[in-house]
Homo-oligomer: 723 residues x 2
């Protein structure tokens, strides 16, 4: 037996060598959080008894996709293929499906109906005397979602022997908005070109499209707007609709509907009409016919996203009609087919000299009650434009008769592009948990957008995608977390961003606690760090003109006043900040009275919003006892120090994960530190030139002169060009 | 022992299962011809005795790269790691290096000096009584090239027990020209965005850059022009030169120098001068200082590529200076550092009403002898512009005092973009083997450009790259063959394109003969098929305006006469073709007398060039005995039939290779068939409208009307926009 063991040892060694010699596919981030790499033997052994066989239908495309995913996931994680079975033949079966499609599941009599079609139950059950795990959906899609949830439990090292999970999404439409042009460029894209290879569609359906659908389904995303809101009308030509239909075919098994951004003037541009007036019968007929054509090709088409009368886009106001006239006209064309309209509230006019922060509210609130049932108003989280920090948008809660859809930006247009590590979970959570007070305490933004506050059946959350053709999808490994957290919060806007970060780290990197804890901490602090080194204390919109790269608080090159940083910070010899109190633009009055009263009072306003709502003297005493000027410098400096700390944290984590991703993160953190320092120094140099005050003791002066920072120019900034 | 065996068997099974379960990395083409997947056991066993240990230096970066490549390649192919050794300890050692760096190699006294620094010898030798294989380079780079050659022998299943190979490149500069803009777009690029992530350089050096260098070194390419010839001057700013330097650092160990396309007006654009006159002392000083700055950052910088006085680009003629004045001024700036200038001869002027085919010759031939020693004239293979077929450029052989550099197009601007399977080897070979007759029979184009005909030390071949950010690098698997064949012919322009195709197929797909033979046959016929369905019998330039997609022989929308198809085909009621004989533009006179006489005579002109040199009556009797009109229709039809045959061939090869690449090729062939049919039908419909003749019996009429084909428009064609 000793010889035997020796032979075995040699043999093992040989095979192990062979194993290590398999073509080295580096970890390049392509697999996202669905890596399914082998668990440690210690973990795997805990799950073996509960993963003995798989009982699942394979009649529908969604059932096949679900089965494939479970087989791929479980075989990857556990290192063994799961036998398929028709019936329960042993302990540890996994039974997946719906009551409608499986008599075995029907017999379990699980209470699934209240969870709706996207909901699911995961429960340990006994079948014919055998312990088993049932993953039961309200529909095939619910079962798919449940299967991803089950895989997540294993991926994150959780126990699966006492499961009784009941899940259903709180928000109906969970949608990615792609700002992709048909020429392959992406507005505010920092991860390469568009993943849609329009030219080769509909013939070539790249395998990546399926992986895109898998990733989205794994976090509950059920819709995708394929094209940019500022593109032309070509997407609505028959040639392109056939391409869209091919993508819809790929996505359908994963429960993902396609939507399109449409240009309001399409009837003129491609329809040959002389007008796009929403009340013109020919225009209405054109859109109806176009909708009919679309549904002929794509029976489950989702609907339209519209940016109208905003930043130069055509819209109903070109014909002296209202946003409601425009939205309803499109909604009527889609209604017979079950489609919906997502109408953006991001409108402001340079002709309107009033505070830009107030304009969307002024435009839309009077229209409450005038929109048809299949219209949602898609509203950005804050009143300006996806800044590192803004207060919640005053429209949330202010239009009780209209479903308001949240629009978050996932791509980091204002938060460091691809290379800054900024986890957006805390930003999203901060907004969603904000209390609008519209129906008393607890009227959170989350309750407005999930429809529960006003009892809307239709609800939605949109995320402006950060996905491109880069191998790692999002331009950096950590940017993948922002896609992930968006999806998870769209499913349930009350989840904790920390818990989501931890899930993501475990799935994306490792379950090693020595890695998980510091990385989650680093992620959770990263957004506040960015706020500090970019726009602390309620400042915003200090970035470079047009391309939005780097600091330019001095910039006055933009054609319009409200595109210039000086419009927003209003720094002068006396102080800094935009007075939106009752002595200023009175934007505070757009909030519910209790909120308005708080924001109206400099002393009560949370310091994180201070300079958003008030013009504050440089020597104003902050809660710390220090002056505003001191605090401003301190925050800028803290932001840089935080990034230095992030680098230090990361440097201690070498060896816990693959070298390739480790090195890329390390390089990007070095870029982030360099740019954080630049932001701090440039902003302090500029604001000091206005405040005229010395730096507080102990704070280093800017490394270069203000003149130097002002002299920098940046050609070829990604995500921006004069299309 | 029986129990023991049983345990072993179970164990083997378990491990084998584990092996098969390693995350399924699909074959996505990323590995190119360097896949190094395991050979069949039958093949591997032949090599084991010759791959027992590896003796190689690891002092220089190139030595380390060579060692890494051999270890990666041999372990992948043979499934076993090669032990490193300092001395020969057993039979079957592989000894790699140079006489200068290895006493062991010096002792072998191989005749390597005559092969030059890039050359190498691979020979079976005996060392201390042990049979071994020596891979000896004239320099580290020569040893690297030899190592790739050695790996290729194994990859293609050749014997390695009687090796005595002596190789050195016949052409000195073997260069890829990237038409990549700094904004990530690629002119005439069909494989996604640029692989250069300029924005993240110099900090982030993507691992892909190293794989790019490996692939190029494996086929002997030793230079890369990073940016498009029509870009601006930003690449010469210090910020961008630092990015270029980072790429140069990555490429250096692989023997690849970087070159830049420079804009002649750079002294004005970024230098603040008022002129770019090449004889102006300030301009000359500016370029000298710029060259000094570049070499400070990149000591082995290669030099400049220039497109001047061509298609709107600035140049010396703006200042009434000659091309020689312009090129020499730049050459003088580079000369102290050993850099060279590649000056393009692709010039023509719309002010010049003479035959466009004649203009480059007329412009440059008088300047022969006026260029400084470090200038090459980069000349396209034919006089027009990379058409599916052109006669060789008349400048080849006509400027004996000047090194002429070949420019081939690898990206398939005129040959079906990404999706048509067109192997360019036969096109390159046809040009290279053309006899200019300038110094009598055998004065081939290959001998002109390798410098041997006129005794030039400097020689070069450039290929306009087809590389982009697509995962498979080139937009399709078969397009990789065009990168490959370009490199192999730049190394030795007398190689057979068929032999190269076979090498490539074996390395890229499989050594299975049942696959290799039909695929090589298909590749070898593919270019003639494209000529037939696009532009047979000497026709050219019939493609769509600007974007160059699809047929448009009728098109007159281009602003300039010589950008219009009708300028080239000149079809009328009587016949078709461009009379370049002595009765026409007399372009034939630019060739050596014997060639000119042949081309001048309609009866002697090869039919593949007939309509290039002659306006031929529709009823002209071809060698087949049929009329020209009949032959034209027959060729168009044959092209489509050939593609149908290619599809049929491929459909029989299912199962020989991975499913993912199989399916993509199958899909692309379907696109190719559709588009070949469209080309045939549109061209026949159009030419029939002019010839007024019925289709020959048995030939199907076009599927749609001429009006339909004329009505087609194509937005967002890849590789083209109005930058």
């Amino acid at each position: 037996m000793k010889t035997c063991l020796r032979i075995l040892a040699v043999f093992t060694l040989t095979l192990a060598t062979l194993l290590c010699m398999a073509p080295a596919h580096a970890e390049d981030g392509y697999e996202l959080w669905l890596r399914y790499h082998p668990l440690t033997p210690g973990q795997a052994v805990l799950y073996r008894g509960h993963t003995a066989e798989l009982i699942i239908g394979s009649t529908t495309p969604t059932q096949i996709a679900t089965r494939n995913e479970l087989q791929r996931g479980l075989s990857g994680l556990l290192g063994q293929d799961l036998p398929l079975s028709e019936t329960v033949t042993r302990d540890g079966a996994i039974i997946v499906g719906t009551a409608a499609s499986s008599p075995l599941i029907a017999k379990l009599r699980l209470d699934i109906q209240s969870l709706g079609s996207d909901g699911y139950v995961i429960r340990n059950v006994i079948v014919d005397g055998h312990p088993a795990t049932a993953i039961v959906g309200g529909s095939d899609i619910g079962a798919l979602y449940g299967s991803f949830h089950f895989l997540r439990l294993l991926q994150t090292g959780q126990a699966i022997d006492h499961l009784d999970l009941h899940e259903s999404p709180r928000i109906k439409l969970r949608v990615l908005d792609h700002w992709d042009y048909l020429n392959g460029q992406i507005e505010r894209g920092y991860a390469g070109a568009s993943i849609w290879d329009w030219w080769k569609l509909p013939d070539w359906r790249a395998p990546r499209y399926t992986d895109y659908a898998r990733a989205n389904a794994s976090i509950g995303i059920n819709g995708t707007v394929l094209n940019d809101v500022t593109g032309g009308a070509t997407i609505l030509t028959t040639t392109y609709l056939q391409k869209v239909a091919a993508l819809a075919d790929v996505f359908r098994p994963y429960g993902i509907r396609v939507y399109l951004s449409v240009r309001f003037s399409a009837p003129i541009e491609i329809g040959g009409l002389k007008t796009a007036d929403p009340l013109d019968p020919q225009v209405r007929a054109w859109w109806r016919a176009k909708a009919d054509e679309i549904y002929q090709l794509i029976p489950d088409f989702g609907g339209f996203l519209v940016k109208a009368d905003s930043e130069g886009q055509p819209g109903p106001q070109d014909y002296k009609r209202t946003h409601a006239d425009g939205a309803n006209m499109l909604a009527d064309a889609l209604a017979p087919h079950g489609g919906i309209v997502m109408w953006r509230t991001f409108v402001y006019s340079q002709a309107n000299k009033d505070d830009r922060a107030k304009q969307a509210y002024e435009e839309f609130k009077p229209l409450d009650g005038q929109f048809h049932a299949n219209v949602l108003l898609q509203t950005k989280n804050g009143p300006i434009d996806f800044q590192p920090r803004e207060p919640f948008h005053p429209l949330f809660g202010a239009m009780p008769k209209t479903p308001l859809m949240m629009e978050f930006e996932i791509t980091k247009e204002y938060l460091g592009f691809a290379t800054h590590l900024v986890y957006l979970g805390p930003l999203y959570e901060e907004v969603l948990s904000s209390d609008t007070m519209e129906r008393g305490m607890g009227s959170t933004v989350a309750k407005v957008i999930d429809g529960s506050l006003e009892g809307h059946a239709l609800s939605g959350m949109a995320g402006d995608a950060n996905i491109g053709a880069d191998r790692n999808w999002c331009g950096s490994d950590f940017n993948q977390a922002n896609w992930y957290v968006f999806g998870r919060l769209a499913w349930n806007p009350t989840l904790s961003s920390r818990a989501i970060a931890e899930e993501w780290v475990r799935m994306t990197f490792t379950n090693n606690e020595a890695f998980v804890k510091p990385v989650v901490d680093m992620m959770m602090g990263s957004r506040e760090a960015a706020v500090d080194y970019m726009t602390p204390l309620g400042l915003l919109h200090l970035m470079g003109p047009g391309h939005h790269y780097g600091p330019a608080p001095w910039d006055a090159s933009e054609s319009e006043a409200d595109w210039r940083p000086v419009y927003y910070h209003r720094a002068d010899r006396q102080g800094i900040g935009f007075d939106r109190s009752s002595t200023g633009s009175n934007a505070v009055a757009q909030y519910a009275p209790a909120i308005a009263a708080q924001f109206n009072d400099m002393a009560q306003t949370p310091e994180r919003f201070l300079l958003y709502f008030h013009h504050v003297p440089w020597d104003y005493r902050m809660r710390s006892g220090q002056t505003l000027w001191y605090e401003l410098v301190a925050h800028y400096t803290q932001g840089v120090d935080d990034v230095k700390q992030m680098r230090a944290t990361w440097s201690h984590l070498h060896g816990y994960i693959d070298e390739e991703r480790y090195q890329q993160v390390a390089t990007f953190l070095a870029i982030q530190e360099k740019e954080a320092q630049w932001w701090r120094d440039a902003c302090i140099a500029y604001f000091q030139s206005i405040s005229g005050r010395p730096l507080p003791p102990g704070y280093a002066p800017p490394q270069r002169s203000l003149k130097y920072y002002e002299s920098l120019t940046f050609p070829y900034v990604p995500g921006y060009s004069s299309w």
